[in-house]
Amino acid sequence: MDRRTFLKTTAAAVGGAGLGLGPMRGALAQTGPIKIGLLAPLTGVIAAGGKEVVEGFQFYFEQNGLELAGRKIEVIVEDDASNPDTALQKARRLVEQSNVNFLVGNILANTGLAVANYVKGTGTPYFIPVIAADDLTQRARIPNVIRIAGYSASQNSRPFADWAYKQGYRKVATISQDYTFGHEQCGGFAQTFTELGGTIVQQFWHPLNTSDFSPYLGQLAGLGIDAVFAMETGADATRFAKQFASFGLKGKLPILAAQNMTDQSVIRTLGPEAEGLVSAAHFCEGAKEPATVKFVAEYEKKFGILPSIYGFSHYSGAMWLAEAIKKIGGKVEDKDALLKAVRELELSGSPLGKTVKLDAYGNPIYDIYIRKVEKRADGKLWNVPVETYPGVSQFWKYDPETYMKQPAYSRDFQGIKKA
């Protein structure tokens, strides 16, 4: 092919692609398919998690058929590129061009917050099984944004603090990535722990993608603390666990890990250094509930890996939506009815094996597991339950309205009670 022919064919191909877009518009009758816009980071920093978001969500429909209440289900996947500007643009496209009935997904809080701000204006229902930013179901909640099958960041660390106090820990330091998700998880822990009578000796905040933890590890070793609360995600979690072990601290200083630090997405890449890590979460892949065992086995058979929080949450999210859509006879065009059905649903068939429902603010109430990383018979690491805290809401034991009068957790406000 010479240069000219090449240019011509390229131009023809590009032109043809452009023309193909025309017929895509047009209003949809109520009898058409139910269109779901699924936003997931398929490229960028959290692409591995994004893949599991899509797999988990589609896995439910593969098992149960792509039809609800007589209407076909069409899942349109868009890549948010782990970037809030892109997420916003893709959300716009799903709503305005693809005419989806509602949006689901996103992983990173900043992408979720950007999309939430957009749907506030359009009224499009938006469901967030992973976005944990506290305020989306607290102070800055939006009626059409619901956290189905997800959790709010500080929710799990409160029972964890209670458990830690009961283990006899009195002096704890925290180390965390320096962004909102970290501030909120540490805040939940620090507030509950100090209110029980414990002390937060020091808090370390390090930038995302820290490659060398030795300055922090050296300080941690010298603080004379009983345990350290560590909030790390992704590659930081892997590096922290490895360096903590090679620093000789493993076995001497107990780690209380945020749930994402011992999530499958992290520990499937780790070895002995992860064994014995304790964390708190609503999902525990090693739990003995028959529903959990069944889900984990099916998921592993299909994808060859144990489900992470991303896969689990979007599988459950899909189930939650499917149940709600069945209840309203597939009439998803009625946004208010859809939101009401989702909000009032009590989900009994989820992989958790327990009935899950939302609190009045759109966040699920869970039985929280205290879990420990153990080696399974075949050598794979997984989390197994140690203890259960039943019925934990995002407000722990506080009165919601009183609680929301205190500011949102940040670096400067951790809810620490002065002794």
Binding site: L42, D85, Q89, R93, A109, N110, D178, L208
Partner: protein
Amino acid sequence: MSSVLSTASRTSSPRTTAIFFAGSVALLAILPAVLPTYHVSVATQILIFGLFAMSIDILAGYAGRTSLGHGAIFGTATYVVLYGVANAGLPLALAIPLAVVAATLLAAIFAALAIRTTGVYFLLLTLALGMIVWGICLRWSVVTGGENGIRGDIRPAFIGDARSFYYVTLGCSVVLTWAMWRFIRSPFGLTLSGIRDSESRMRSLGYNVSLHLFIGFVMSGVFAGLAGALYALFNNFVSPSTVALTQSVTGLLMAIVGGVGTLFGALIGSFVMIALENFVSFYTQRWLTVLGLVFIFTMIFAPAGVLGTIRVLRARRQG
């Protein structure tokens, strides 16, 4: 390359430009009537980024200084508008001028530090300065909201829908494009082109080269800031990715694809990049690869960019 550049930028007579300009505006004005809503918002984005890329082209094409810090200037304006309206409760009419002032000041700081360097040193210095701004936006979370950024419904209700905001953006674009065009064709703007072609000759003719470059940089920052303020209204949201290096690179690539030193080419580049991103990603997840190929082919077959090549070809035909 530099001879191609000068041909590209010199062969537009004011009259053809005026006709071309009026035609384009007329075409753009009827767009919302035929396009669905989503495409109107894409068109709005193209205009905003076109302005941004043009502001980069003022420096890259006319003063011969390729900046990688303009994303930071653009994004600073976006931050100031959102912070001002959503967090500090200022009226929009005050926040926008403040944003432009902030962008101008930032441009002045960048200019003062970078203007004595050329080529790759200028590139690196502006890159570093831009990264500092990005770092501040990421870490100063009390003010900037850190990773999560700042959100708020700052766009007034009367331009709330996509179509009316498109017309606002179009109006601003017409005025600003005209202003930039006047700027580069003014006697002062011509001295910038002179500096690009030969700094030493301009110096020996008695021009204060550094001062001229400084003013050129600051003016380009003013335009980038105005585009950034529009972007704040468009998105109702800002996060560190708006001030990040990729933003600067995107703007520069738009200018290059359209044709460095053609000013209006930047708009074409913005159209090519945003349209490609939107339409190709509809069909494949590998749209970034497609975009990369487009750049490679542009560099091989049309190194002067789309508009630059058209002008070169026309000049050749006229002999």
